[in-house]
Structure formats: structure tokens, C-alpha cells
Symmetry: D2
Subunit: 379 residues, 4 copies
């Protein structure tokens, strides 16, 4: 299969390996007339960029984006948008050792099983570096969402046992998107709670000395989505979101609204009562649904959470095998983040934005009224 | 969007509402030469059938399947397979009350938001009854998997706080697929642990008296999958599985292998060491990955878990609004399962089988060697 | 591949063999709110029905359609619409002879090559009968087009050398859609020119006596399409049309506007000059483009033509081979149309309608303005 | 819709405008293990390159291709292959005049109708230059076909009334692929008949003086395709080919085998008799089918023909309108090919190769036997 595309109406197709010439993406199906610049996209890439602090790999990559097509005089043209990010740090190093064995927790073994051989330089296509192209594409999706006043915000909710504000609640139920983003951006770990962030930093310092790594969770909220996005059966909004999230390398779990806790609730606890607010809008008193009912957005915030595994590249010696099956004790070298969670925050945000942009476009033909509105005025 | 299809190479498209004439599915892309009969498919539908015990709705539906096309002389022909299930219990009842208000936890409000109106009879397209078509399609996928010795087995792992064998482990790490299935089939709740099942039954009895309902978790294992299925970027095997699972109405969460616990582990704890067994096969000592590395199956069992919310149709009075926004206290009538988990077990199994069948077909062109093998021998 | 689907946004998936239990289709992605009834669909099927006159096979099939889902209280609901047509004339005849050899001009040989075996009863899935499902689906597309005042009209332009009004021009450049349809419906061969029709009838009578069959051409016009449908690169409106047409069994060629004659024209002859009419609309003085420029509709009529081969089932003895490769002189029995063209007219119309419906929906997101129009008014 | 992708299993997605920064393509789904180099791809691009002789635009473009991903140590890796072609001749010229009016025969008007505005520099996305990306992708498809001994060859069959060897037959029925290619490559117009080529050259010289342009036809042959490619209903091999061909800007018609002549033949004339050759292979005595029966390849050569319209950019004054609807007499400047046919030959070849590569991959799962062959040997 050609697994490098995501989305149906707003569709992206990515390319690029960790140590190849470049990474990039084609965004196809983006409406004409959206303001877009390389500078705007760059702000997203800069949030993902390595080497920003001690918790991320010191590999130096400026990750400068170039718009190759689909933008004219500052606006999207409606045709395919290509974005290019050159790899600067392609070292012609010696990969013969890493080429010969299978790193635990990595895709080396499965790549060989599928394709018969692999680009072993820095993980090739399965490197976390692949997500740079997703972030560039997600920036385009965010440019579209912005014009419709839809916001997406992700943040590290927990690192190991250090949880923001010691709460199981979604932070977005307490704080506005702007407040969370502001608190988050003060933390090198993208944790909106300064106290939890400080504790997690100390913990990561210890882990680093022990040649180990940590996992955590990321929460995300989408606000301003109209009700009715997503489709009732297989293309449920939450099913697409889950797909998007599990497609991120290190994600091991996804939950929406009450999520796994729903397994412990009763019907009367899980159901969100409807009411009409003063402005006459139908709302829900609680949001255990997480903003999706029957696969379609219900006009509330969409709230979800993902579990991120610890960085598999640890420096401690590990039991494994060579390609020929012989036993081997490997010891990974190079410099690797002791935590994936923090840099993955913007990736989660971008994949959520892409999911929402796609749903907005796919929903346009749900009613005959939409067609009459658009074709009526144009003729 | 046309949200009624699932799969790329092995693709299904479903139709049908709770109280319409019929439900059904077209399976397109199924290889020729697989033995298939209506009787075989019926065994899957019978496991989903309502009215089997006190914990499922007493609505009488025989759910008899008819094969309309794509099977000739007992084998699939390679062309599209259509399966039809007539609705027998279409009552011409009075739905005027239910039509006028939005049931909490249901898709009534979101259907109206998306389409401008809805088939209000029994939930229409968003009824749990829609899954009958998935089960029929899943049976075809299982027929394919059978020929390649691949097995899928799902079971209720927990209902509210009642957990099988009081373990957080996947049961498939202790028992064989056959053992689990045999234990499961003795429980009216599809719980492989007789003791936990008995306690959960008593609990459900109490809930029923309180006009309430319960949630729970389902675990699933796939054995015998070759390594290398799934694609490295967006079409990861686990991403497709997550999509499949969240597309089931009441599912609120998905985790693979260590799942949400991975957020609390270190790298050395999460990584599964590789070794070579006596037969010379490369294996993993543990399976925290859940059988997928970098989005591709690694030859181990695929292990995952989903969270299922409590039945939203509870008899207790609930706060809600009418279509015109006026406040309303609704009281749902009719007969509804106090638990979705148990009947959803076969749905989870079938969606997992469909995901695996699709991945098996999509992977056929991963190597040039495959093409040479197939086109070389045929010319 | 799963080749039984057509369309991207307005997508149909068909099933059914000539002598199986039933034929049918699922229409997915049809907007909610379109008036639809079985009676309406039946009028399309009746135009395709066999046994209507001496030029079509006397096989008796009422081809009665049943709506199984997706329509509620006389309107489409937005969810998948399933349409069922039972086969009535499944004869349990003796097919052992036909099963053993390859009919020239038929798909017997290629089916065996692809799938390893075939449903040999009446051509199975590759029977012309398969088009009944397309016509049922096309009726749904026409119901949508009707609401937007878009018309589709196809007719037999020529049978062998007998050409309507002895002109190479498209009839739609001389007559209105209503005039053509009215003239066409008076001819048993669907030829709008009574004189040409009479001559073609006499010719077919002679061919019948000679145990032979004839080919011809079908023209089609779409009126009322807004400008801008279709996409600039691979999904050009005319590329989709060509795909649709060549997917009809006996079609061997497709041309749009000046078509093959364009190869003999100069640039100044082929280019259509633009002008502004009295109402202020931008129009073209000629229509050699056939209503499509750069893959997008230009607001003129879309005009195209297809070549239809003669019925391959002729009664004359023919040279062929058996499945084992041994030489064989076959003599086809049963009763077959001496001409495919006439019954294919409604199939061409329906495939064109499906192409247009899909393009209308796919185009909804081409401008940001569309999204603001739809989501602005709903929030 | 996102119209920049072609193919299902072997899928390409292109980007780029005439005067933007670059053109390019992502090839997704290409099997691992195919030898591929930039030099090989360059040989295809060089055949399309402008400025090669007096019959093509003198715009200087080296069209140098760079492989950005998906190739490692000289072989495809199975992951997405990105190919980049920088635009060198981006002139910052004055386009204000061309921006203000609609060129007849061009997509200026329809672009504005669809997107509300357009990149008016040199046609933007609808420029013939867009096909450079198709050719680069087609080269990858040819690399795959080569390994399976499948050949594709296109050539100019006629320019205006000048027809190669004065025959209506396909040249591939008289000459081998190698002979045709060798004769073709001697002609600046890609016409395999030196005499016809000389006459056409003289004709084009006259047209050039008259500020006009010419159309023509291209024939194409595919040899070595296994029988059974393509799918019986909507995804017929010839339907996909027709789609591919009509997606090329200037193509106005497509025919396969006897094509439009089939409309004048009888059944006994059109049907190709089967026989068994001395090697025991089942063959056809004639090839009026053009190598496809019932949508699936029959093991004969695939033969088809397309009609190409004259270059719409002629220097003669033409009637048109400005964007505001006011009448305007335009006179196109710049330098344009007086004929599209010759440079389109390699584009036809590449689109045919992409169609074949996709069909080869999509067909892999047609039989259970294929799955057993591949998964049986790997476990």
C-alpha cells in the first residue's frame, strides 16, 4: 500500500528519510484563497525543531521550509501545495554496525521483514524526523482553521508520574486555549504546570544519568468546530482522530472524553445532559463524550489524550540479535532525546488540525441545501 | 464524505438502518478461491444476535444472512460479495415522541446538525444494529484468515470493576486462543473468567433495577500474522486498528500492548529484547509493543484493548432539550441491553479481522520479489 | 483491486452476476434532502429492460427495484442508499458446454486468467446485466441533478453506417434536450431520426438472418452544469467521463467536442472564441472544446460520443479453444440482442450523471468562500 | 477534490506550476528492490525537454531531476520516492496583460470560475509543463516494467493529414517495438515514417508562417503484459487507460483496438478468434479488441490511440473577453510549439506505464493462491 497519504478531501502525502536529501509534503485539496507564507509554516516547524534544550537531541537542523508550489501572491491557489525541508545534517558516517543488528523498540526488524532491506541511516523513513513533514502540512491546515476561528492546542499532560496540576481532568476544562498555550510555552517540556515541569525535568536528568528514557501523555483540545463534522459509520470523527494519533511513531494509546474511565462509569454518569444556553444554543452540561456523539462533532470542545512511549534509543546495553539471527548485546550511541512527549506536542496538534480540516471539507456535501447555496449563487 | 466503507484492498461498504427494510454489506477485493457459505457467516451473526439472554435486548431478530453475489460453487469468485440481512422487527410504532427530543449520549442531535433531519426510528443508521453488517463482512475476512492459519479472538476483559482473573495483563499472554474462546463461550457476558462473570452478572442485575447501565473493556488478540504487515507512515497497522475500533459506536479508547501504561515506563522497561528461538526464528522476549513496531507487525501476537462506554439508553429520567431548544425531561422506554460490552465482542473481532485481511492484501506488492514470484510463474 | 466502485465524493459500489440471486448498488455520499422514490428509479430501469422489442433479448426480467436503506419519508437521509434488483430468470440450465470453452469477444478467457475460475452462467459478473445496477445508481444521481436544473441526454447517433440526420455534428448543437429525447423515444433503437432508425431496423433484420450483429455510436449532452467542475490535473472532468464510458463493457472509444477531428484542425479552427452575451454572461461562440477547458467545465454544454462494438454473441460458428487449449468451433445459442447500442443509451446517460454528481460534490471545497458560506451560516 | 494523484496501488501525486519554484512528484507504493537512478529518469525527461528543435518551444529548461527520497544504494526502498525538477526559466516578466483576459482554448476562464483567481504566469498549474512531473514518475513505472520484461512504446501516428505509412492499422501490428522506437527517434516530430515526417515538417513550417498550429494522433503499444490485469467492472484496464490519456491536457479522444471503427463492423468481424500456438499458449488470430477483453488484459499487445488538439497558443489575433466581460482582441506573444503531438509522445508512454504498473500491483491479490505463495514462503 501507499501509506504516505493522510486525509480524503484535504489530503497530504509525505516523503523523506532521516538522512536522505530532504523531507517534504504535498498538500492536495486545500481551498483557494487562504493566506499562507513560509514564515507562518516556519513557526510550526520551529516548535518541533531539535536542539532547543537539553531534553531534545542536539542534532543541528534549521528545518527551513520552502514553498515550491500552490501559493501565489500570498494566497493558496487551490492546486497542490508542495513544501520542502532540506536535511542539513546528513553525515556520511559509519553505519555498518547499526546496519547489522535490530534495535529493540525500533522498526529495524519489521522494515527488513516487509521490504527485504532498509535505509539503516538513522532509522530512515521510520525516524521521528519524518514528522517534520507532518508539521509543515499541519501548519497549512491550521491556516485554514484560523480563517474559521477554530483552534487546536496540545500540551504535555504528564511525564512519567508527574501530572499537570495533579488532575485526571482535561486541562481544557479548567483553562482557556490561550491560557494553556501561554503556560505551556514557558516550559522546556511543554508542560503547562511549571511545578510539574520542574519535577519532570529533574526526573529526566536522573534518567539521563541512568542511560534511560521516559514516557508520558499528551492532551489536545479543538475549539470552535461546528456540530456535524465526521461521518456516522466508519469515518467517525473520533475514528479518524485515533487513526491520526496512532500513526505517530511512539503513540501507544488514544482516548476521547472520559476514555478508559468510561469503562467504570454507569450510563447516567457518562451521558452528558443537553440544555439551551441564554443565547439559544443547544449545549451539554458536561463533556464526557469528548465533543463527539455517534462519530459526529456535537459543538462542544473535542478533547482527547494519547499515551507516548519512552524513547526506544537508550544508552544502556540491550539484548538483541543480528540480521543473521546471532545473539548480540547492542549499545546505542549518538545523541537522543530522553523523552519524546515534549517534541511530539506540536505533531499531535498538527495531526489533529489535519483531521479537522479534512472533516470540514468532507462535510460540505452533507445537505442538498449546501449545493443550492453554492451553485445557486454562482450561476 | 461517504463514510460507509472500510479498508483499501479488502474493502467493505455497508448500508442499513435499525428500522429500515434491511442491512447489508458489499465486500470488494476478496481474493478468488476462498471457501464460503451462508452457514459459516451465520455462525458469526448468531454470536451478535439480540435476545440471547437477559443481558441483551429481547428484540427478536433472526438476522438470517443471504449471499447475493460473489460466491459460486462454494467459493469466492474474486468479484464483489453482497450479503443481505432483512430486518424482521420493523414495528410501525409511534416514534413521534422520540423524534421530538435529543437523547443524551446518542447521535440524535449530531444527525440533525449534519443532515438537517434524521431517521428517528430506533436510532436509524447510528443504531448498534448497524454492526450486524460489519459482522457479516468480518466473517468473510475470517474465512480468508483461516486459510492462512491466522486467528482472531476477542473477549470481555472487564465489566465495571470486575476484571477477569484480577490481572492487568492481556489474557492472551497466559492462555491460548482456544482456551480463551472456550472459557468465554461459557459466560453469557463473554467473560472468560467464570467468577468475574458471575460477579458482573449480579452487578448488572442491580443496575437494571436502578435503571442504569455499565461499561467495560474488551481485549483482542491476533495470532499467526506474518511480520511486515502495515505501512511505515500513516497506514500503520495499529493506526488502522485504532481507526477500526473507534469506528464502533460505543468505543471511547484504544491501546496497543502496554498502551497507557507505557507513559509510566522507562525505555529499558518498554523495549522488548529480541532473541532467536531453537527453530531459528527471531522472536521477542516480551510483548510490550503489542506485536507492532514502527507500524508493521513484528511476528508476535497483536494485543490490544478498547474501552466501551455504558449503554446510553437508560430508563432513569434525564435532562435534555427538544428540537426547538425547549427544556425536556426524557424517559427512554423500549428494552435495551444494560451492557454493550458483551455483544460488542464479536464486532471487535470482526473489525480486527477486516483490518488484518486488508493489511495482508495491501502488503503483497511490498517487494519486487513478490511480483516476480506471481507473474513469473503465470507466464 | 476492488473494481466495483465508481466516484469519489458521490460513490457507488455495485454487485451481482447475470444468473446470481440479485444485482444491486450502494450509493454513498448522496446529500440529505433529495426527493427519491422507487417509482422514480424504476423509470430508468424500464428504459434498460430487456424484452421490449425485437432488437433486444427476449429474456423476461421485470427488474423491479427495492430501496433497502437511506431514504426516509420520501427523501434521502445522507447515509448510504442500497438498491436491490432480484434476478427472476435464473434458469438452472445446463451450462457445461459454455463452461468448457472461451467465447470470442467475451471475458471468459480473461476471467479465468485473473481469478483461476469463473461463474460461467451467462457471463457472470461481466454480463451486460451488470449495468442494471449502474442505471439504478444513475437514477439517484439524476434526482440530484434535477434539483439543480442539470439535464443529461444520450441517444443512438449511428448504427453501422446509418447516421442520424446524416451529420457529423452533435445533435445537441441543433436540437434542445427535450426535442432529442422526444424524437429518441419514438424509435425502438433510441435513434432520434425516424428515417435513420427505419433503415437501421431493416439492416438489423438482415444481420439477424445472417446470424450477425452491429455496432454504432452514442452521443450524450449535459446541460446546465456550472463552470469550474472537474480538477486541473488527473481528475479532469473529461478524464473522469472517459473512465466512466470505457468502463461500460462494449465501449471501444470516447471523444469530447471535436474529438478525433481535432487531429485535423488548426489552432484557429479548434479554439472557441469567448464573448459576452446580452445578459452579461461569458460564453463561447462555438463548442469544439465540448464544454471542458483544461479539465474543468466551461459553462457550455458538455458534448461527447462513444463507439460501441457489435454484440459479441453471434450465432455464426466461430473458431476458438477449450479451456485445455484444444481447438473448438463454437456456436452460441440462447437469444441475444443483435445490437448493444440501443439499450446502452440509458447506461451512458447514467454513467454521465454519476460523473457529474461526483464532480459537483468534489468541487464544493474549491474556494475558502464556500466554507465560510456554509459554516458561517450554521454557527 | 485533490486532483493531483493518479493510481491506486502504485500512486503518484504531482505539484508545480509553469513559473513557480519547482515541479515534482511523489511516487508511493513502488515495490522495494527496483534499480533506480537519477540518470535513468533523466533519459525520459530529456525526451520531453523543450528547445530541442524548431518544432518545440525554445524556452531553455534543463529539467534536471533530483531524487529526494525512497532510493538507497541504487534501489527503491519501498517507501515514498520524491523527485524534484527546479524551474530555471522563471522570468519576472510582465504578465499584467495576460492576467486580464481569457485566452481561447486555454484554462484561464475555467480556473477563475473554479478558484476565484489564478496563477496567470504561463498557465500556472494547467501549463503543459506540468507533464514533466508525470514523465519523471513514468520513468519509475518503466523501471518496474523493465524488470518484468514489459515494454511501452508511443509515437506520433499522424500530424494533420500526414499519416505514417498511409495506414489506418496500428504500426505495432507491422513492426516490433524496437523497430518503431528506432524509426521514431530519427524524426524531430517522433513520427516513425521518415517520409510522413518530412511532409509534416514542411506543413508545420507553413503553419508557423501563418501563425497557426496543428493537431495529430499518437499511437501506443504495451507488450509483455500478463493476462488478467484490470478489473471487471469500473476499474477496467482500458477505462483506466482512457482516464490516464484524457488527463493529458490536449487530448480530445481515445480509442482501443478497432476503436471508433468498431461502430462500423459486424460481430464476426470484430470478434478475435482464439487458437493455441505451437508452444501451447492460447492466443488470438487478430487483435481488434486491442488486448483487453471485459476490462482485463488478454495477453496480446495493448493497442490504443489518442487524438491531440492543435496548440491553442496561436499568434493570430483572436476574439475573446477580459475578466470584466468586455470584448477584446488578443494576440498571444512568447514562443510556443506549433504542435503538441511530438512532445506529448513520451507523456503518453509514461501515463500508459503508470497505468500498467498500477494494474500489476492491484492484481496481486486476485487469487488466494497468490497469498499462499507469498505468505507461505515467508513463514
Amino acid at each position: 500500500m501507499n501509506g504516505s497519504s493522510f486525509g480524503t478531501s484535504f489530503k497530504i502525502t509525505t516523503f523523506g528519510e532521516s538522512h536522505g536529501a530532504a523531507l517534504g509534503v504535498i498538500v492536495d485539496g486545500c481551498p483557494a484563497g487562504i493566506p499562507l507564507s513560509a514564515e507562518y509554516i516556519q513557526t510550526f516547524l520551529d516548535r518541533r525543531k531539535p536542539g532547543q534544550n537539553v531534553y531534545s537531541t542536539p542534532r543541528k537542523e534549521n528545518d527551513t521550509v520552502e514553498i515550491l508550489s500552490g501559493v501565489f501572491e500570498g494566497s493558496t491557489t487551490g492546486t497542490s501545495i508542495a513544501l520542502l525541508i532540506r536535511n542539513e545534517a546528513q553525515r556520511s558516517g559509519d553505519y555498518s554496525e547499526i546496519a547489522s543488528y535490530y534495535r529493540p523498540g525500533h522498526a529495524d526488524f519489521t522494515f527488513d521483514a516487509k521490504y527485504g532491506f532498509r535505509d539503516y541511516r538513522g532509522g530512515g523513513r521510520s525516524s521521528g524526523r519524518e514528522t517534520a513533514a507532518r508539521v509543515a502540512a499541519g501548519a497549512v491546515a491550521c491556516a485554514l482553521l484560523d480563517t474559521l476561528n477554530i483552534k487546536v492546542c496540545a500540551y504535555a499532560k504528564s511525564i512519567n508520574e508527574y501530572v499537570c496540576f495533579d488532575t485526571k481532568e482535561y486541562l481544557a476544562e479548567r483553562y482557556s486555549v490561550e491560557e494553556i498555550a501561554s503556560m505551556r510555552d514557558k516550559s522546556p517540556l511543554n508542560m503547562p504546570d511549571a511545578d510539574a515541569s520542574a519535577k519532570a525535568e529533574a526526573y529526566l536528568q536522573r534518567l539521563r544519568e541512568e542511560h534511560n528514557s521516559a514516557g508520558g501523555t499528551i492532551e489536545c483540545v479543538l475549539t470552535g468546530l461546528p456540530a456535524g463534522l465526521g461521518d456516522p459509520v466508519f469515518e467517525k470523527f473520533d475514528a479518524r482522530l485515533a487513526h491520526a494519533m496512532l500513526s505517530i511513531g511512539a503513540v501507544k494509546g488514544f482516548e476521547l472524553g472520559s476514555g478508559f474511565e468510561a469503562a467504570l462509569l454507569t450510563g447516567t454518569e457518562q451521558n452528558d445532559p443537553f440544555y439551551t444556553d441564554e443565547a439559544g444554543n443547544i449545549k451539554k452540561r458536561t463533556n464526557r463524550a469528548g465533543g463527539v456523539l455517534g462519530g459526529m462533532t456535537d459543538g462542544s470542545d473535542v478533547l482527547f489524550r494519547v499515551a507516548v512511549k519512552p524513547t526506544p534509543s537508550v544508552y544502556a546495553p540491550q539484548e538483541t540479535v543480528k540480521q543473521d539471527g546471532s545473539a548480540y548485546t547492542c549499545q546505542i550511541t549518538g545523541r537522543h532525546d530522553p523523552i519524546i512527549v515534549s517534541r511530539a506536542v506540536v505533531v499531535v496538534e498538527c495531526m489533529a488540525a489535519l483531521t479537522a480540516a479534512d472533516a470540514l471539507l468532507s462535510n460540505l456535501g452533507s445537505k442538498l441545501e449546501h449545493l443550492k447555496m453554492i451553485y445557486g449563487t454562482e450561476q
